[in-house]
Symmetry: C2
Subunit: 145 residues, 2 copies
DNA sequence: TTCATTTGCGACTGATTTGGTCTGATATCT
DNA sequence: AGATATCAGACCAAATCAGTCGCAAATGAA
Protein backbone atom coordinates (compact mmCIF):
# COMPACT_ATOMS: atom_id res chain seq x y z
CA UNK A 1 0.00 0.00 0.00
CA UNK A 2 2.82 2.33 -0.86
CA UNK A 3 4.63 2.12 2.41
CA UNK A 4 8.29 1.97 3.24
CA UNK A 5 9.24 -1.30 4.90
CA UNK A 6 10.36 -1.05 8.50
CA UNK A 7 13.73 -2.39 7.47
CA UNK A 8 14.19 0.45 5.03
CA UNK A 9 13.08 2.82 7.74
CA UNK A 10 15.65 1.39 10.13
CA UNK A 11 18.24 1.63 7.38
CA UNK A 12 17.66 5.33 7.03
CA UNK A 13 17.87 5.78 10.79
CA UNK A 14 21.13 3.84 10.90
CA UNK A 15 22.72 5.70 8.00
CA UNK A 16 21.71 9.03 9.43
CA UNK A 17 23.14 7.97 12.78
CA UNK A 18 26.43 7.08 11.14
CA UNK A 19 26.41 10.40 9.32
CA UNK A 20 26.07 12.23 12.61
CA UNK A 21 28.83 10.22 14.24
CA UNK A 22 31.30 10.20 11.44
CA UNK A 23 34.97 10.85 12.18
CA UNK A 24 34.30 9.19 15.48
CA UNK A 25 34.49 5.51 16.33
CA UNK A 26 32.74 2.85 14.29
CA UNK A 27 29.20 2.20 15.54
CA UNK A 28 28.18 -1.38 16.21
CA UNK A 29 24.74 -2.70 15.29
CA UNK A 30 23.99 -3.14 18.98
CA UNK A 31 24.90 0.42 19.78
CA UNK A 32 22.66 1.86 17.08
CA UNK A 33 19.79 -0.51 17.81
CA UNK A 34 19.75 0.34 21.50
CA UNK A 35 19.87 4.05 20.87
CA UNK A 36 16.64 3.94 18.92
CA UNK A 37 14.93 1.08 20.71
CA UNK A 38 15.11 -1.29 17.77
CA UNK A 39 15.75 -5.04 17.90
CA UNK A 40 19.49 -5.66 17.78
CA UNK A 41 19.16 -8.67 15.52
CA UNK A 42 17.07 -6.79 13.02
CA UNK A 43 19.31 -3.75 12.96
CA UNK A 44 22.28 -6.05 12.39
CA UNK A 45 20.53 -7.57 9.41
CA UNK A 46 19.77 -4.16 7.97
CA UNK A 47 23.35 -2.99 8.37
CA UNK A 48 24.59 -6.14 6.69
CA UNK A 49 22.55 -5.33 3.64
CA UNK A 50 23.85 -1.79 3.62
CA UNK A 51 27.39 -3.14 3.86
CA UNK A 52 26.82 -5.52 0.96
CA UNK A 53 25.82 -2.59 -1.21
CA UNK A 54 28.88 -0.63 -0.09
CA UNK A 55 26.87 2.14 1.49
CA UNK A 56 28.55 1.51 4.80
CA UNK A 57 31.81 -0.29 5.46
CA UNK A 58 32.08 -2.86 8.19
CA UNK A 59 34.87 -3.46 10.60
CA UNK A 60 34.96 -6.86 12.23
CA UNK A 61 36.19 -7.71 15.68
CA UNK A 62 36.23 -6.05 19.06
CA UNK A 63 35.44 -2.34 18.92
CA UNK A 64 34.37 -2.91 15.36
CA UNK A 65 31.18 -1.71 13.76
CA UNK A 66 30.10 0.35 10.81
CA UNK A 67 31.24 3.55 9.15
CA UNK A 68 29.79 5.40 6.22
CA UNK A 69 31.50 4.37 3.00
CA UNK A 70 30.72 7.66 1.26
CA UNK A 71 30.05 11.28 2.03
CA UNK A 72 26.56 11.84 3.43
CA UNK A 73 25.92 14.16 0.49
CA UNK A 74 26.63 11.26 -1.87
CA UNK A 75 24.10 8.90 -0.33
CA UNK A 76 20.48 9.30 -1.37
CA UNK A 77 17.40 7.96 0.35
CA UNK A 78 16.90 5.85 -2.76
CA UNK A 79 20.33 4.26 -2.31
CA UNK A 80 19.44 3.18 1.20
CA UNK A 81 15.93 2.02 0.41
CA UNK A 82 16.84 0.02 -2.65
CA UNK A 83 19.85 -1.50 -0.92
CA UNK A 84 17.50 -2.99 1.62
CA UNK A 85 14.28 -3.66 -0.26
CA UNK A 86 15.52 -4.04 -3.79
CA UNK A 87 14.56 -1.82 -6.71
CA UNK A 88 11.73 0.62 -6.16
CA UNK A 89 8.90 -0.31 -8.51
CA UNK A 90 5.43 1.00 -7.86
CA UNK A 91 3.85 -1.74 -9.92
CA UNK A 92 4.90 -5.30 -10.54
CA UNK A 93 4.31 -4.68 -14.24
CA UNK A 94 7.20 -2.27 -14.49
CA UNK A 95 9.87 -4.91 -14.07
CA UNK A 96 12.26 -5.46 -16.93
CA UNK A 97 11.82 -9.16 -17.49
CA UNK A 98 8.51 -10.33 -16.03
CA UNK A 99 5.27 -8.58 -16.85
CA UNK A 100 1.78 -8.97 -15.56
CA UNK A 101 0.50 -11.18 -18.33
CA UNK A 102 -2.06 -8.61 -19.37
CA UNK A 103 0.65 -6.23 -20.48
CA UNK A 104 -0.74 -5.84 -23.97
CA UNK A 105 -4.17 -4.89 -22.71
CA UNK A 106 -2.94 -2.82 -19.79
CA UNK A 107 -3.39 0.85 -20.50
CA UNK A 108 -1.89 2.30 -17.35
CA UNK A 109 1.49 0.67 -17.70
CA UNK A 110 3.20 3.52 -19.44
CA UNK A 111 1.72 6.36 -17.35
CA UNK A 112 2.67 4.50 -14.20
CA UNK A 113 6.17 4.02 -15.45
CA UNK A 114 6.51 7.78 -15.65
CA UNK A 115 5.07 8.22 -12.17
CA UNK A 116 7.56 5.65 -10.98
CA UNK A 117 10.42 7.63 -12.45
CA UNK A 118 9.22 10.78 -10.78
CA UNK A 119 9.23 9.03 -7.45
CA UNK A 120 12.71 7.67 -8.08
CA UNK A 121 13.70 11.21 -8.85
CA UNK A 122 12.28 12.48 -5.57
CA UNK A 123 13.98 9.75 -3.58
CA UNK A 124 17.33 10.18 -5.26
CA UNK A 125 17.24 13.94 -4.72
CA UNK A 126 16.99 13.59 -0.97
CA UNK A 127 20.43 12.91 0.48
CA UNK A 128 21.47 11.84 3.93
CA UNK A 129 23.20 15.15 4.46
CA UNK A 130 19.95 16.92 3.64
CA UNK A 131 18.15 14.72 6.08
CA UNK A 132 20.62 15.77 8.74
CA UNK A 133 20.26 19.51 8.20
CA UNK A 134 17.97 21.65 10.24
CA UNK A 135 17.51 24.20 7.52
CA UNK A 136 15.73 23.09 4.39
CA UNK A 137 15.93 24.67 1.02
CA UNK A 138 13.61 23.87 -1.82
CA UNK A 139 14.49 22.05 -4.96
CA UNK A 140 12.60 21.29 -8.10
CA UNK A 141 12.14 17.86 -9.49
CA UNK A 142 11.00 17.37 -13.00
CA UNK A 143 7.76 15.52 -13.14
CA UNK A 144 7.26 13.61 -16.34
CA UNK A 145 3.57 13.79 -17.00
CA UNK B 1 8.18 -2.32 -0.35
CA UNK B 2 6.84 0.82 -1.97
CA UNK B 3 4.53 -0.87 -4.37
CA UNK B 4 1.05 0.02 -5.49
CA UNK B 5 -1.48 -2.61 -4.49
CA UNK B 6 -3.08 -4.55 -7.30
CA UNK B 7 -6.43 -3.19 -6.29
CA UNK B 8 -5.19 0.37 -6.73
CA UNK B 9 -3.73 -0.68 -10.04
CA UNK B 10 -7.07 -2.11 -11.14
CA UNK B 11 -8.74 1.05 -9.94
CA UNK B 12 -6.60 3.16 -12.22
CA UNK B 13 -7.32 0.83 -15.13
CA UNK B 14 -11.05 1.03 -14.44
CA UNK B 15 -11.14 4.79 -14.08
CA UNK B 16 -9.11 5.25 -17.22
CA UNK B 17 -11.47 2.88 -19.02
CA UNK B 18 -14.45 4.92 -17.88
CA UNK B 19 -12.70 8.08 -19.00
CA UNK B 20 -12.24 6.65 -22.46
CA UNK B 21 -15.85 5.52 -22.68
CA UNK B 22 -17.51 8.54 -21.20
CA UNK B 23 -20.66 9.91 -22.84
CA UNK B 24 -21.39 6.35 -23.80
CA UNK B 25 -23.25 3.74 -21.80
CA UNK B 26 -22.45 2.95 -18.20
CA UNK B 27 -19.82 0.21 -17.90
CA UNK B 28 -20.50 -2.71 -15.62
CA UNK B 29 -17.84 -4.27 -13.42
CA UNK B 30 -18.08 -7.45 -15.46
CA UNK B 31 -17.56 -5.61 -18.73
CA UNK B 32 -14.45 -3.83 -17.49
CA UNK B 33 -13.01 -6.90 -15.78
CA UNK B 34 -13.35 -9.04 -18.87
CA UNK B 35 -11.78 -6.45 -21.11
CA UNK B 36 -8.58 -6.48 -19.09
CA UNK B 37 -8.60 -10.09 -17.95
CA UNK B 38 -9.18 -9.29 -14.30
CA UNK B 39 -11.34 -11.23 -11.86
CA UNK B 40 -14.90 -9.89 -12.04
CA UNK B 41 -15.45 -10.13 -8.30
CA UNK B 42 -12.31 -8.20 -7.56
CA UNK B 43 -13.01 -5.50 -10.09
CA UNK B 44 -16.49 -5.15 -8.62
CA UNK B 45 -15.03 -4.63 -5.20
CA UNK B 46 -12.63 -2.01 -6.49
CA UNK B 47 -15.39 -0.13 -8.26
CA UNK B 48 -17.50 -0.19 -5.10
CA UNK B 49 -14.75 1.59 -3.23
CA UNK B 50 -14.42 4.14 -5.98
CA UNK B 51 -18.18 4.69 -5.84
CA UNK B 52 -18.13 5.17 -2.08
CA UNK B 53 -15.57 7.94 -2.50
CA UNK B 54 -17.69 9.53 -5.23
CA UNK B 55 -15.05 9.13 -7.89
CA UNK B 56 -17.44 7.13 -9.99
CA UNK B 57 -21.22 7.02 -9.76
CA UNK B 58 -23.08 3.74 -9.83
CA UNK B 59 -26.27 2.86 -11.56
CA UNK B 60 -28.09 -0.19 -10.26
CA UNK B 61 -30.18 -2.58 -12.25
CA UNK B 62 -30.19 -4.00 -15.72
CA UNK B 63 -27.94 -2.09 -18.12
CA UNK B 64 -26.52 -0.36 -15.09
CA UNK B 65 -22.86 0.08 -14.29
CA UNK B 66 -20.48 2.89 -13.53
CA UNK B 67 -19.83 6.35 -14.90
CA UNK B 68 -17.19 8.86 -13.97
CA UNK B 69 -18.51 11.26 -11.37
CA UNK B 70 -16.12 14.05 -12.37
CA UNK B 71 -14.17 15.27 -15.34
CA UNK B 72 -11.07 13.14 -16.05
CA UNK B 73 -8.99 16.25 -15.57
CA UNK B 74 -10.37 16.60 -12.06
CA UNK B 75 -9.43 13.09 -10.95
CA UNK B 76 -5.84 12.53 -9.86
CA UNK B 77 -4.00 9.27 -9.48
CA UNK B 78 -3.84 10.08 -5.79
CA UNK B 79 -7.63 10.28 -5.61
CA UNK B 80 -7.97 6.81 -7.04
CA UNK B 81 -5.18 5.24 -5.03
CA UNK B 82 -6.26 6.65 -1.69
CA UNK B 83 -9.90 5.82 -2.38
CA UNK B 84 -8.92 2.20 -2.59
CA UNK B 85 -5.99 1.78 -0.24
CA UNK B 86 -6.57 4.60 2.20
CA UNK B 87 -4.23 7.53 2.80
CA UNK B 88 -0.80 7.31 1.21
CA UNK B 89 1.77 7.25 4.00
CA UNK B 90 5.25 6.06 3.29
CA UNK B 91 5.92 5.28 6.93
CA UNK B 92 3.62 4.13 9.69
CA UNK B 93 5.10 6.85 11.87
CA UNK B 94 3.59 9.60 9.79
CA UNK B 95 0.03 8.89 10.86
CA UNK B 96 -1.82 11.61 12.66
CA UNK B 97 -2.88 9.70 15.76
CA UNK B 98 -0.66 6.66 16.28
CA UNK B 99 3.08 6.93 16.24
CA UNK B 100 5.80 4.34 16.33
CA UNK B 101 6.56 4.53 20.03
CA UNK B 102 10.06 5.71 19.38
CA UNK B 103 8.84 8.97 17.91
CA UNK B 104 10.90 11.09 20.25
CA UNK B 105 14.11 9.26 19.39
CA UNK B 106 13.32 8.88 15.70
CA UNK B 107 15.40 11.27 13.66
CA UNK B 108 14.08 10.46 10.22
CA UNK B 109 10.46 11.21 10.97
CA UNK B 110 10.48 14.78 9.79
CA UNK B 111 12.59 14.28 6.64
CA UNK B 112 10.37 11.37 5.64
CA UNK B 113 7.29 13.46 6.16
CA UNK B 114 8.63 15.88 3.58
CA UNK B 115 9.44 13.06 1.17
CA UNK B 116 5.92 11.81 1.69
CA UNK B 117 4.50 15.18 0.76
CA UNK B 118 6.59 15.28 -2.38
CA UNK B 119 5.19 11.94 -3.41
CA UNK B 120 1.65 13.09 -2.69
CA UNK B 121 2.42 16.06 -4.84
CA UNK B 122 3.59 13.86 -7.71
CA UNK B 123 0.55 11.63 -7.46
CA UNK B 124 -1.92 14.48 -7.26
CA UNK B 125 -0.36 16.17 -10.26
CA UNK B 126 -1.03 13.22 -12.51
CA UNK B 127 -4.64 13.24 -13.64
CA UNK B 128 -6.66 10.64 -15.43
CA UNK B 129 -6.92 12.86 -18.46
CA UNK B 130 -3.13 13.09 -18.56
CA UNK B 131 -2.92 9.34 -18.31
CA UNK B 132 -5.18 9.09 -21.33
CA UNK B 133 -3.20 11.43 -23.55
CA UNK B 134 -0.65 10.24 -26.04
CA UNK B 135 1.35 13.42 -25.92
CA UNK B 136 3.07 14.28 -22.67
CA UNK B 137 4.18 17.66 -21.52
CA UNK B 138 6.44 18.23 -18.60
CA UNK B 139 5.49 19.78 -15.32
CA UNK B 140 7.44 20.79 -12.29
CA UNK B 141 6.67 19.65 -8.83
CA UNK B 142 8.15 21.36 -5.88
CA UNK B 143 10.28 19.05 -3.84
CA UNK B 144 10.54 20.04 -0.22
CA UNK B 145 14.00 19.04 0.83
C1' DT C 1 47.47 -17.94 21.61
C1' DT C 2 43.22 -17.59 23.35
C1' DC C 3 39.09 -15.34 24.04
C1' DA C 4 35.60 -11.90 23.73
C1' DT C 5 33.57 -9.10 20.33
C1' DT C 6 31.55 -8.14 16.16
C1' DT C 7 30.09 -8.81 11.40
C1' DG C 8 28.21 -12.28 7.61
C1' DC C 9 24.78 -15.33 6.02
C1' DG C 10 21.10 -18.43 5.56
C1' DA C 11 17.23 -20.85 7.53
C1' DC C 12 13.32 -20.51 10.11
C1' DT C 13 8.87 -19.00 12.40
C1' DG C 14 4.89 -16.15 13.39
C1' DA C 15 2.26 -12.15 12.27
C1' DT C 16 0.35 -9.12 8.98
C1' DT C 17 -1.20 -7.83 4.61
C1' DT C 18 -3.07 -8.74 0.34
C1' DG C 19 -5.52 -11.03 -3.39
C1' DG C 20 -9.39 -13.13 -4.31
C1' DT C 21 -14.01 -15.60 -3.34
C1' DC C 22 -18.61 -16.29 -1.59
C1' DT C 23 -23.15 -15.21 0.16
C1' DG C 24 -27.00 -12.52 0.66
C1' DA C 25 -29.25 -8.15 0.24
C1' DT C 26 -30.96 -4.17 -2.40
C1' DA C 27 -31.96 -1.43 -6.42
C1' DT C 28 -33.57 -0.98 -11.24
C1' DC C 29 -34.98 -2.07 -15.84
C1' DT C 30 -37.91 -4.84 -19.05
C1' DA D 1 -41.85 -11.45 -11.83
C1' DG D 2 -37.40 -12.06 -13.31
C1' DA D 3 -32.95 -10.72 -15.02
C1' DT D 4 -29.20 -7.78 -14.17
C1' DA D 5 -26.34 -4.81 -11.26
C1' DT D 6 -24.52 -2.82 -7.43
C1' DC D 7 -23.61 -3.03 -2.11
C1' DA D 8 -21.67 -4.90 2.05
C1' DG D 9 -19.35 -7.75 4.84
C1' DA D 10 -17.46 -12.12 6.12
C1' DC D 11 -14.23 -15.31 4.78
C1' DC D 12 -9.99 -17.99 3.15
C1' DA D 13 -5.48 -18.79 1.05
C1' DA D 14 -1.25 -17.07 -0.48
C1' DA D 15 2.36 -13.93 -0.21
C1' DT D 16 5.03 -10.76 2.18
C1' DC D 17 7.26 -8.95 6.21
C1' DA D 18 9.18 -8.58 10.90
C1' DG D 19 11.87 -10.63 13.80
C1' DT D 20 14.73 -14.73 15.70
C1' DC D 21 18.25 -18.20 15.81
C1' DG D 22 22.50 -20.68 14.99
C1' DC D 23 26.86 -20.98 13.22
C1' DA D 24 30.91 -19.32 10.68
C1' DA D 25 34.58 -16.01 10.00
C1' DA D 26 37.26 -11.91 11.08
C1' DT D 27 39.56 -8.91 14.26
C1' DG D 28 41.46 -6.79 18.39
C1' DA D 29 43.03 -7.23 23.04
C1' DA D 30 44.67 -9.60 27.11
Amino acid sequence: MFKLSKKADYGLIAVKHLAMHRDQHACSATEIAEEYGISTMLMAKVLQKLARQRIVSAKHGANGGYLLAKEPSQISALDVISAIDGPVLITSCVTSHGNCGAADRCTVREPLRRVNESILSVLSTVTISQMSEEQHEHALVELQT
